[in-house]
C-alpha cells in the first residue's frame, strides 16, 4: 500500500540524513598525517538504510491505523483498559498481589546479597517516588529539589547518631518530621509561585541544601562526608554483614508497605481531594473554600516526610553519607520515577521505580550501551505513553442507601 508520495518522502529523508551525517560519518581527518579520508561508502549506507527504514515504518504505520479502525468497533478493546477491568476483579488481583508479595518476601533467599542490596535501593526509590508523587503528581507542584529532603533525612541520622548516639529507630520518625519541617520552610516562600517559577525555586532550594552540606564543614564534615553510620539494629543483636543487608531489605519492604498504605489513604481523603483540586485549578479550588496556603504546605510537608525517612534508610544502608549523593541528578531520577510511572498512580510509581532503578543495573551486561538504552526507554515512553505506565484512575463512588 505504498504510494509514490511515500517513496518520494522516503527518498527525501534518506538524502536529508546523508547530508546531516556527512561531517560525522564521511569526513575523517587524520590529524597525524594531516590528510582527509573521504568515506563515501558510509554515506550511501546511511542513505539506503534511512530510505528502507522510512518505507518500512510508513507501511507499518498504515497497517496499524487500519487495524485500529477495525478494532474501534469493539469497545474497550485496548489492552490497558482490558487489563484494568480484569485487575479490578477480586479473583484476579488478590492472587496476583499475594504472588508479588511472595516474590518480594522470598527475594533475599533466592538471590545474592548484591541483588538484595540493589532491590533495597529500588524499594527506597519507591518510597521517594510515592513521596514526591504527593507534591508533583497529586498537588501538581513541580518540585525539582526533592533530593534536599532526602539529604535532610540522611544527615539527620548521620549527625544525630554521631553527636547524640541516637539509634535508627529513634531517628526514623525524627528525620521524617525534620524533613517535613523543611518542606514547610520551603513551602512558605513559594506559596505564590506556580509552574516554571516554582520549579526554579525548588531547584535552587535543593542546591542550597547541598551547598550547605558541602561547605559548612564544622556542621556536616564537608565533602568528605560522615562514615561509620550504624546499620539498623535488631534488639541489640549482633548481625553479620549479610544478615544485616537482608534485615535492611525486610525493613525497607515494611517501609514501602507503610508508605503505600498511608499515601493511598491520604489520596482518597478530604485532604487528597483538595490536593487534586489544587492541581486541576487553583483559582476554582480557592473559590470552593479550600485554603490554598494550608493545602500547599501540607502537600510539601507530607511529601518531604517520606524523603526524610528514606534518607535514614539510605544512610543506614550505605553506612556513609556525603553531599555527592544528593545532586540534582537524584531529584531528576525521582521525578522520572513519578512521571514515568504515572502521576498520581501508586501502582504506576512502584513499577516506575523498579524499572528505572533495576533496568540500569541489569543492563550492565551490555555495559557500554546501558545508558543509551536507558535514555531511549525514557524517550520512547514519553512518546507512546505520556501519561505514564499507569495513568491515574479516579476512585469511583457508589451511594449507599
Amino acid at each position: 500500500m505504498l504510494t509514490a508520495k511515500d517513496v518520494r518522502q522516503a527518498l527525501l529523508i534518506g538524502l536529508w540524513f546523508m547530508f546531516l551525517t556527512f561531517p560525522l560519518l564521511v569526513i575523517k581527518v587524520n590529524t597525524i598525517e594531516d590528510t582527509i579520508i573521504w568515506r563515501w561508502n558510509n554515506m550511501f549506507i546511511i542513505g539506503g538504510v534511512c530510505f528502507v527504514a522510512t518505507l518500512a515504518l510508513r507501511s507499518g504505520r498504515r497497517l496499524l491505523v487500519q487495524k485500529k479502525q477495525e478494532d474501534a468497533s469493539l469497545k474497550n478493546s485496548r489492552l490497558s483498559s482490558r487489563i484494568r477491568t480484569h485487575l479490578h476483579h477480586k479473583m484476579v488481583y488478590l492472587p496476583l498481589l499475594s504472588l508479588v508479595l511472595l516474590f518480594f518476601i522470598l527475594f533475599p533467599t533466592q538471590f545474592s546479597t548484591y541483588q538484595t542490596t540493589i532491590m533495597t535501593t529500588a524499594l527506597m526509590y519507591v518510597v521517594l517516588g510515592l513521596g514526591l508523587n504527593i507534591v508533583v503528581g497529586v498537588a501538581g507542584l513541580l518540585d525539582l529539589g526533592y533530593v534536599a529532603f532526602y539529604a535532610v533525612g540522611a544527615y539527620s541520622y548521620a549527625l544525630l547518631n554521631l553527636h547524640f548516639g541516637l539509634g535508627f529507630w529513634t531517628v526514623l520518625p525524627v528525620a521524617g518530621l525534620l524533613a517535613a519541617l523543611f518542606g514547610v520552610l520551603l513551602g512558605f516562600p513559594v506559596l505564590r509561585l506556580r509552574g516554571d517559577y516554582l520549579a526554579i525555586v525548588t531547584l535552587g532550594f535543593g542546591e542550597i541544601i547541598r551547598m550547605v552540606l558541602e561547605n559548612w564543614s564544622e556542621f556536616s564534615h564537608g565533602p568528605s562526608g560522615i562514615s561509620n553510620i550504624p546499620r539498623p539494629g535488631l534488639f541489640g543483636l549482633d548481625l553479620s554483614l549479610n544478615q544485616s543487608i537482608i534485615y535492611t531489605y525486610y525493613l525497607m519492604m515494611l517501609m514501602v508497605a507503610f508508605t503505600i498504605f498511608v499515601v493511598n489513604r491520604l489520596q482518597n481523603s478530604r485532604i487528597g481531594r483538595a490536593w487534586f483540586a489544587l492541581r486541576e485549578d487553583d483559582i476554582a479550588c480557592q473559590a470552593m473554600g479550600i485554603d490554598k496556603t494550608r493545602t500547599k504546605l501540607t502537600a510539601f510537608a507530607l511529601g518531604a516526610f517520606w524523603a526524610g525517612m528514606a534518607g535514614v534508610f539510605f544512610a543506614a544502608q550505605n553506612t556513609y553519607v556525603s553531599p555527592k549523593s544528593f545532586t540534582f541528578l537524584e531529584s531528576a531520577i525521582i521525578l522520572c520515577v513519578v512521571v514515568l510511572g504515572g502521576m498520581g498512580s501508586i501502582i504506576g510509581i512502584i513499577l516506575g521505580a523498579l524499572i528505572l532503578i533495576l533496568l540500569p543495573e541489569y543492563l550492565r551486561a551490555i555495559s557500554d550501551y546501558r545508558m543509551l538504552v536507558f535514555g531511549a526507554t525514557l524517550v520512547l515512553m514519553m512518546i507512546f505513553r505520556p501519561q505514564g505506565i499507569i495513568s491515574t484512575v479516579r476512585r469511583t463512588y457508589t451511594l449507599k442507601r
Partner: protein, 262 residues
C-alpha cells in the same frame, strides 16, 4: 428587611484604570438580582471583588452573616468568603476537569467538613461518617441537576450545558446563602437555558439569594426581582425589570444612541 449583602462605594483600580467606580448594590434575602451591562463594564471585576479574588481599592462590602449583622468582607481570602456563605461560578468554566463529576461536588463540601490528616490515615468513625455525609449530599445535588448517573465520569467529558450545571452544583455544595452566577447561560441552547431557569428558580425556592451576571436578556427579565446596570465601571441604573427596560441610560449604554427607543 435587612439586606443580605450591601456594597457601598466599591472602587477598584488597576494601576491607572478605574475598573469599578463607587458602585452601590444591595441584595435582600431570597432575591434574584441581576447585574447587566455591556462587555467590559466591570461586572466580573465586581464579582471578583465580592468573592475575595481581588482586594478592592475602596468602599465596603458588608455581608449579613447568619443574621448577625453586617460583616466586612473586603480583602478576605476567597476561601474565607466562601466559608461565610458566598459561592460563585465562573464565566469560563473552571471545573476540576480530571476529577470525576461527583468529586467536583465533593470538593464543594471541603469548607463544611473538618477531617484532618490523622482522620484520613486512621479512618476513625467520625471521619467515615463525615465522608459518607459528603458522598450523600453530593449525590443528592447531582440528582437535582440530573447528573447522578454520570457521577463517576470525568468532568471534562460532560457536554457543555451539563458542565455549567455542575459548576452550580459544586457551588451549592458549599452551602451558600448567596450564590453568584457569572454568565451561567453563556453558550447554552434554548432548551438548556430553559432548564437552567428552572434550576435557578428552585434554588431561590430554597431561600437562597442569587446574584446573576447574564447577557441573555430574556432570561434576565424573566428571572430577576431587581436589576443593576453597569457601564464603564459605574452603576448607571437600577430597578425592576420593567423600570430598567425603558431606562434611557440603559438603552444608550447598550445601543449607543440617545434617540433610539426599544
Amino acid at each position: 428587611m435587612e439586606p443580605l449583602l450591601s456594597v457601598e462605594d466599591l472602587t477598584m483600580d488597576f494601576g491607572g484604570i478605574r475598573a469599578l467606580d463607587q458602585v452601590n448594590l444591595r441584595i435582600h434575602p431570597g432575591e434574584i438580582v441581576a447585574l447587566i451591562g455591556p462587555n467590559g463594564a466591570g461586572k466580573t471585576t465586581f464579582f471578583n471583588c465580592l468573592t475575595g479574588m481581588y482586594t478592592p481599592t475602596g468602599g465596603t462590602i458588608l455581608l449579613n452573616h447568619q443574621g448577625k449583622g453586617g460583616k466586612r468582607i473586603n480583602g478576605l481570602k476567597p476561601n474565607k468568603v466562601t466559608e461565610l456563605g458566598l459561592a460563585r461560578t465562573f464565566q469560563n468554566i473552571r471545573l476540576f476537569s480530571n476529577m470525576s463529576v461527583l468529586e467536583n461536588v465533593m470538593i464543594g463540601r471541603h469548607c463544611r467538613t473538618r477531617s484532618k490528616i490523622f482522620g484520613a490515615i486512621f479512618r476513625d468513625p467520625a471521619t467515615l461518617r463525615e465522608e459518607e455525609d459528603i458522598i450523600g449530599i453530593s449525590f443528592a445535588l447531582l440528582e437535582r441537576i440530573g447528573l447522578a448517573d454520570q457521577a463517576n465520569t470525568f468532568a471534562k467529558n460532560l457536554p457543555y450545558g451539563a458542565q455549567r450545571r455542575l459548576e452550580i452544583a459544586r457551588a451549592l455544595a458549599t452551602e451558600p446563602t448567596l450564590l453568584l452566577l457569572d454568565e451561567p447561560a453563556a453558550g447554552m441552547n434554548p432548551q438548556e437555558t430553559l432548564e437552567l431557569n428552572e434550576l435557578i428558580f428552585s434554588i431561590k425556592d430554597d431561600g437562597l439569594s442569587i446574584l446573576l451576571i447574564e447577557h441573555d436578556m430574556k432570561m434576565v427579565m424573566a428571572l430577576s426581582d431587581h436589576i443593576f446596570v453597569m457601564d464603564y465601571g459605574r452603576k448607571i441604573a437600577e430597578g425592576t425589570p420593567d423600570e430598567v427596560r425603558y431606562n434611557p441610560a440603559v438603552i444608550k449604554a447598550y445601543l449607543g444612541e440617545e434617540d433610539v427607543r426599544a
